[in-house]
């Protein structure tokens, strides 16, 4: 996370700043224009449940395509090689498809406004409050990580002082969410998605030409880094050594199942996009539409990381002054002329702001509805909660600024995020999946499963791993194992507690548990939704098959 000032300075000119300035103007314009659509709290927090599937789908993928993700995955590409594709094809696609095909009918159909609210109706207030508070704290922390990272990158690239970057970006995010609510956040995410593409595709094309095309890239990496570096599964046998510090079993179970399902299916910053869709079919298609771009994103994120390693073989080595996180800034500096350079800078900034906005817009919803409205000030008018939401947005942005310093104690940004997610989201997923499929799971089991799973992951990571009581070669490997521990402990505690406590009466679980539907919930399909390419099963299984096929070139 430490950048050497001057080392990465870009030669920006007026053209680049024009491109950047136009973007900032449009971002604010979207906020002002979306303001007219906010009349109720539902408009502010969930866009009135009215958006089309392609908009929510692209926002779903863009909310995850923050700059931390882009810089971090390029860094992982340079550090671990082709293993990084696991974060996409094993670590995202199956979970996104599962969310769309299996879980979305419960979320959207039960008309909950947030992921924690589902817990309230399925289990009760104790697990609801616990998860709402954990989520609120985590959102602010991650928003802070985003801001801090952005300030460092901007200081290195264009020489802006850190405080200036934090204040400017914070102000823009604050302004457009306070004005237009979730609609404004989602619209900006869709725009950001295309700007990122426009920034990263030229970078990748020029980079590939520099290293002699795809063949040149793989040949050079094989020569310098060894055979396994360009293979997704080489060296992942149990007991064999690889830079990731994980074997195929912890990869598939830890990353592919626990971490990934925890993140994609219960992280409200993602699920919120689907809940804003206009009907159940659009809500189910949201993560499925998102899956297709997600499959291809490694081409413009991980590949530049690999290119950077070929161009600068000392990347990430001690004494070179360059961190793995510098991969993309390095390519921008070396390969992009003014114009496209401004576009890449705009894309990076857009991604930073959108990443932070996703956290802030989900934070304000959960804090206003699930903490403030549910436990502190209840039963006021809708107007009151709309105003509260706007105030909470401001508090969230300021809190993000204040907590930015926490990020500095971890060397690799992604490790930090993964660590947080493994502690919060995995037990949450465990509680959800058992709660959705087992009527007998009791309110007490929900609370204790959540708490014990979170604590177990922390104990495993900070005590067993950090104190060297168990031998795991890397932070990433330890994350995967911690995720598995969280899931197993949470699940075991839930089953055990359920057997000794009283379940909710079955009639209160309508629409919340598999095999039941809420009264009056069956909506007729909207016109045009019967088309084969809009069928969730076709989209979902298509994405899974495509992701599996993508492994073929990296497996032999």
């Amino acid at each position: 996370m430490h950048y050497v000032a001057g080392e990465l300075r870009l030669s920006t000119n007026g053209l680049d700043y024009t491109v950047l300035g136009i973007y900032f103007a449009v971002v604010l314009g979207i906020g002002f224009a979306a303001r007219a659509s906010v009349r109720t709290s539902l408009d502010f927090f969930l866009s009135g449940r009215s958006l089309p599937a392609w908009v929510t789908g692209l926002a779903f993928v863009a909310a995850n395509l923050g700059a931390l993700e882009i810089l971090g995955m390029a860094a992982n590409g340079a550090q671990y090689g082709a293993y990084t594709v696991h974060w996409y094809w094993v670590g995202a696609i199956p979970a996104m498809v599962f969310l769309g095909l299996v879980m979305m009918p419960f979320y959207y159909g039960s008309k909950v406004r947030s992921v924690p609210e589902f817990l309230l109706h399925r289990f009760g207030p104790s697990s609801h409050l616990l998860s709402s508070i954990i989520f609120s704290v985590a959102s602010i922390l991650i928003a802070g990580v985003n801001l801090y990272a952005m300030a460092i990158v901007l200081e290195a690239l264009v020489g802006w002082p850190q405080w200036l970057a934090i204040v400017v970006a914070g102000f823009f995010v604050l302004a457009y969410i306070t004005l237009g609510g979730l609609s404004s956040a989602i619209y900006n995410e869709v725009l950001q998605f295309f700007v990122i593409l426009a920034a990263m595709i030229p970078l990748t094309v020029v980079g590939l030409k520099r290293v002699g095309g795809w063949d040149g890239l793989t040949d050079k990496l094989t020569d310098t880094q060894g055979q396994d570096f360009t293979s997704a599964w080489g060296g992942t046998g149990i007991g064999s050594d690889n830079p990731l510090g994980a074997n195929w079993l912890t990869l598939v179970l830890g990353l592919g199942f626990c971490l990934s399902f925890g993140y994609w299916t219960t992280n409200f910053a993602e699920v919120q996009r689907a809940l804003s869709a206009k009907n159940l079919s659009a809500a189910r298609r949201t993560p499925l539409i998102a899956a297709f771009p997600k499959i291809l994103i490694p081409l413009i994120v991980v590949v530049p990381g690999l290119i950077a390693l070929v161009i600068e073989p000392n990347l990430g080595k001690p004494g070179s002054g360059l961190q793995y996180n510098d991969a993309i800034p390095l390519l921008m500096r070396d390969l992009l002329p003014n114009g496209v350079l401004g576009l890449a800078l705009t894309g990076l900034l857009a991604a930073f702001m959108a990443g932070m906005a996703a956290n802030v817009s989900s934070f304000n919803t959960v804090f206003t509805n699930d903490v403030w409205g549910a436990y502190v000030v209840r039963g006021r008018s809708d107007r009151y909660y709309l105003t509260t939401g706007r105030v909470v947005t401001a508090v969230g942005v300021l809190g993000g600024m204040g907590t930015a310093f926490i990020a500095s104690s971890f060397s690799n940004v992604m490790n930090y995020l993964q660590t947080l997610f493994s502690f919060f989201n995995v037990p949450l997923f465990c509680v959800f999946i058992i709660g959705m499929f087992w009527k007998r799971a009791t309110p007490a089991a929900g609370f204790w499963g959540l708490l014990s799973g979170t604590v177990a992951a922390m104990v495993n990571y900070f005590w067993f791993y950090k104190q060297h009581l168990i031998d795991i070669p890397s932070d990433q490997g330890a994350n995967f194992v911690s995720a598995i521990v969280a899931f197993v402990v949470g699940g075991a505690v839930m089953v055990a507690v359920s057997l000794f406590t009283t379940p909710k009466p079955v009639d209160q679980l309508a629409g919340l548990v598999y095999g039941t539907t809420s009264p009056g919930m069956a909506e007729p399909p909207a016109e045009g939704d019967e088309a084969w390419y809009r069928k969730p099963a076709v989209l979902g299984w298509g994405a899974v098959v495509l992701a599996a096929a993508c492994y073929v070139p990296f497996s032999f």
Binding site: L15, T18, V19, I22, Y23, V26, G29, I30, A33, A34, A36, S37, V38, R39, T40, S41, L42, D43, S47, G48, R49, S50, L51, V55, S110, K111, V112, R113, E117, L120, H121, G124, S183, Y187, V190, L191, F194, A198, I201, P202, V205, V206, K209, R210, K278, D334, L335, L336, P337, N338, G339, V340, L343, D382, Q508, A510, S518, P519, E523
Partner: protein
């Protein structure tokens, strides 16, 4: 927790919601921004210096990016033109869902 009261509340809010009726079309913004960016990049590409070309490995990357962005912008504008937003259903129709 009184059974399905929250669901009635959400349905009520959905009826009062203004988003479907008043939210502008994002396709116009994407189309407009990319058309403007496309023109800027294309002009920058036409006037590219030798140093620019050399830096980008002899690819006129501004020109190609500009053409690509212009095409995407026009695609979105054409989409708005060909498939305009269907007027949002009125309050009565929505409540009948």
């Amino acid at each position: 927790m009184s059974d399905h009261e929250y669901q009635r509340q959400v349905e009520e809010l959905e009826r009062e919601s203004a988003t479907a009726a008043r939210l502008f079309d994002i396709r116009l913004v994407i189309g407009g921004l990319f058309a403007i960016y496309g023109v800027i990049m294309t002009i920058a590409g036409i006037g590219a210096s030798d140093a620019d070309l050399e830096k980008a490995q002899d690819i006129n990357i501004n020109l190609w990016t500009g053409i690509g962005m212009l095409a995407l912008g026009l695609f979105f504008l054409a989409w708005v033109r060909l498939r305009p937003v269907v007027p949002a259903p009125s309050t009565e129709e929505r409540s009948g869902e």
